[in-house]
């Protein structure tokens, strides 16, 4: 991982191309993190991938997290890796919840947080963005095929959000299937 001054240089480099992209930098537990403006995610990722001397060309993981009750509520983490130097860098885009205050809707029609898709830059993100959409309801603009991936296609709700209850899904047996009429539809 880059050390603290190195991380500042990276942040400076990204901001030179597009002012106001990097909001914060942090180094903890031996991990460097760049917190970026969600509008500037693609710029930051492209800069880190293509700039001479950086070479973070491998996206090892993309995942989302829900920081409820903090605001902004959601984050998308991009775990970048420079394979030549075996250095990892975490880029984190914080996304506000557009449905904040309205309460989340049981019908799944609330406005969803959005961020640009990075599939163009890193084709590996395709499944992982679908997963983040599936579980957190984060919409990736420009994703070629944004559908649910692990949950059933007709599922309503975003199960890994912190306000989604555990055990909310009734388990059907023959003795209680009468409680969920026409469950098979």
């Amino acid at each position: 991982m880059p050390d603290a001054p190195g991380l500042e240089l990276i942040a400076q480099g990204i901001d030179d191309g597009r002012a106001g992209t990097v909001i914060e930098t942090s180094v903890e537990h031996g991990k460097a993190t760049l917190i970026v403006n969600p509008d500037g995610v693609l710029h930051a990722l492209r800069w880190l991938r293509d700039t001479e001397g950086q070479g973070y060309r491998f996206l090892s993981s993309l995942h989302a997290a829900d920081y409820l009750p903090a605001t902004p509520r959601f984050a998308v983490h991009y775990e970048l890796l420079c394979r030549e130097r075996v250095e990892r860098l975490n880029v984190k885009a914080l996304l506000p919840d557009p449905a904040a205050g309205n309460g989340s809707s049981p019908f799944g029609d609330e406005p969803l947080p959005e961020v640009d898709s990075c599939v163009e830059l890193f084709p590996t993100a395709e499944f992982q963005e679908r997963e983040a959409y599936d579980f957190f309801g984060i919409v990736f603009r420009g994703h070629p095929d944004l559908r649910r991936i692990l949950m059933p296609e007709d599922y309503v709700g975003w199960p890994q959000r912190r306000d989604f209850p555990i055990g909310g899904e009734p388990v059907l047996f023959t003795h209680n299937e009468i409680e969920a009429p026409r469950w098979f539809e």
Binding site: S60, H63, A65, D66, R88, E126, I149, L150, R162
Partner: protein, 435 residues
């Protein structure tokens, strides 16, 4: 099959690769257009030019789990393929948020059920780094021994079932014979054959029992000759060679773009192995090689796995010879259960024991991504701690989940029989993919 057919397939594969990322229905439409221009003027479509969309799975013996494939075929050629996953999604990541840290370990072990020690190491290692807890050298060596045994075990299951799909049923029995001795050793050390919960935050649960070392040495002695036997069965087997050679080739650059890691990437000639990265357990103490392939076809993938098993045996031998004396779990009473014999004499030990078992230990707020080299590639674990005794988020980057994205590139342009071979050599584990 003459060699020219293979060359033809490779070209079609590249054409398929360039189309990825566009509208998924496009290749089908293209194929129709190609057919329509040339052939529809005449008496009609030949049977081998018709487009057939076939649903394979989720219950199919050759999909290695509940994987569903929507395959579009033209004759016997695959012209498009879409994997559909999620049939064994059990919400493990969500369930982990409701368990204290030490109770999460059995959950995550059941994700990729052939690589349970790796899952446990990814999670425990991540929590240890969040706690800034160092584990003693003996625990590191014991973890290495178990993880490498687990790697052999996983490769054996993958090899056995793949060979079974290709018609070599005897390979399946031989691979499972060695797998069973490995499981016997896991039973000795952890009490269970699978999902042993042997790795703990801070080290391992118990020291290895008497007799484990002898059994392990016997295994290390016999295993190389067993690998020779597998090679004797497969390396000159004409059916196996024809089914695997030059099949499913994807370029190294394309694999890297798709985030593929593990034996698949190494078979394409990229020597990338996280075990060689600094600060990851005590792998730096051991002398081992990273096997790489040249072409990146199914045969190379098989060869790389075989060579990795040999290297794993070497690592285990070095680890058992150099196994340091000392504690097998960190002496940190805030996170680690006190020894059983102290409970009857020490009040403090009893209090610690009670607190750890009821509430569990608390982890200071923070988040971390930690990855290990699993049998299928980079197995990453992201843990977000909010200061309580339960994780706020546990996320696994399963290698097979990411590797599956390369499956379309491997298969498009090839025969449907090659699809089975490609899937076997991809070695997916649906428990890990669906989590």
């Amino acid at each position: 099959m003459p060699d020219e057919t293979f060359r033809d397939e490779a070209e079609v594969t590249e054409r398929g690769v360039s189309r990825l990322g566009e509208d998924p229905s496009a290749p089908v439409a293209d194929a129709f257009a190609e057919v329509a221009e040339g052939e529809l003027e005449g008496p009609g479509l030949e049977p081998e030019q018709e487009i057939l969309t076939l649903n394979m799975g989720p219950h199919h013996p050759a999909t290695h789990g509940v994987l569903r494939l929507i395959v579009t075929l033209q004759g016997e050629r695959v012209i498009d393929l879409k994997p559909i996953v999620g049939y064994v999604h059990t919400g493990i990541e969500k369930s982990c948020e409701d368990q204290s840290y030490w109770k999460v370990i059995p959950f995550v072990e059941r994700m990729d059920y052939l690589a349970y020690f790796f899952n446990a190491e990814a999670f425990c290692g991540c929590v240890e780094r969040l706690l800034e807890l160092d584990i003693p050298p003996r625990a590191q060596y014991l973890r290495v021994i178990h993880m490498e045994l687990n790697r052999i075990h996983s490769h054996l299951v993958g090899l056995g079932t793949t060979a079974l799909d290709l018609g070599a049923i005897s390979m399946f029995w031989y691979c499972f014979r060695e797998r069973d001795t490995i499981l016997d050793m896991f039973e000795m050390s952890g009490g269970q054959r699978m999902h042993t919960r042997y790795f703990q935050v801070g080290g391992v649960f118990e020291d290895i029992p008497v007799g484990f070392e002898r059994k392990l040495r016997e295994f290390c002695e016999v295993m190389p000759s067993r690998i020779d036997q597998y090679e004797a069965l497969l390396d000159r087997n004409e059916i196996f060679l024809r089914r695997t050679k030059d099949v499913g080739v994807v370029s190294r650059e394309r694999l890297l773009e798709l985030g593929v890691t593990g034996p698949l990437l190494r078979a394409a000639g990229e020597p990338w192995d996280l075990r060689k990265s600094p600060g990851y357990l005590s792998y730096g103490d051991f002398d081992f090689k990273v096997p790489v392939g040249t072409v990146g076809d199914g045969y190379d993938r098989y060869r790389v796995r075989i060579a990795e098993m040999r290297e794993s045996v070497r690592i285990i031998e070095q680890a058992i010879n150099g196994l340091p004396e000392g504690p097998w779990i960190a002496d940190e009473r805030k996170y680690v259960l006190p020894p059983r014999d102290e409970l009857s004499t020490s009040m403090e030990a009893l209090i610690h024991h009670f607190k750890l078992v009821t509430e569990g230990f608390r982890v200071p707020p923070g988040e971390l991504y930690y990855s290990v080299e699993g049998p299928r590639g980079e197995l990453g674990c992201f843990v977000m701690a909010d200061g309580s005794s339960k994780p706020a988020r546990v996320h696994f980057r399963d290698a097979a989940f990411v590797n599956l994205q390369a499956f379309r590139d491997m298969c498009v342009g090839g025969l449907i029989a090659d699809l089975i071979q490609n899937l076997g050599m991809l070695d997916p584990n649906l428990g890990g993919i669906d989590r």
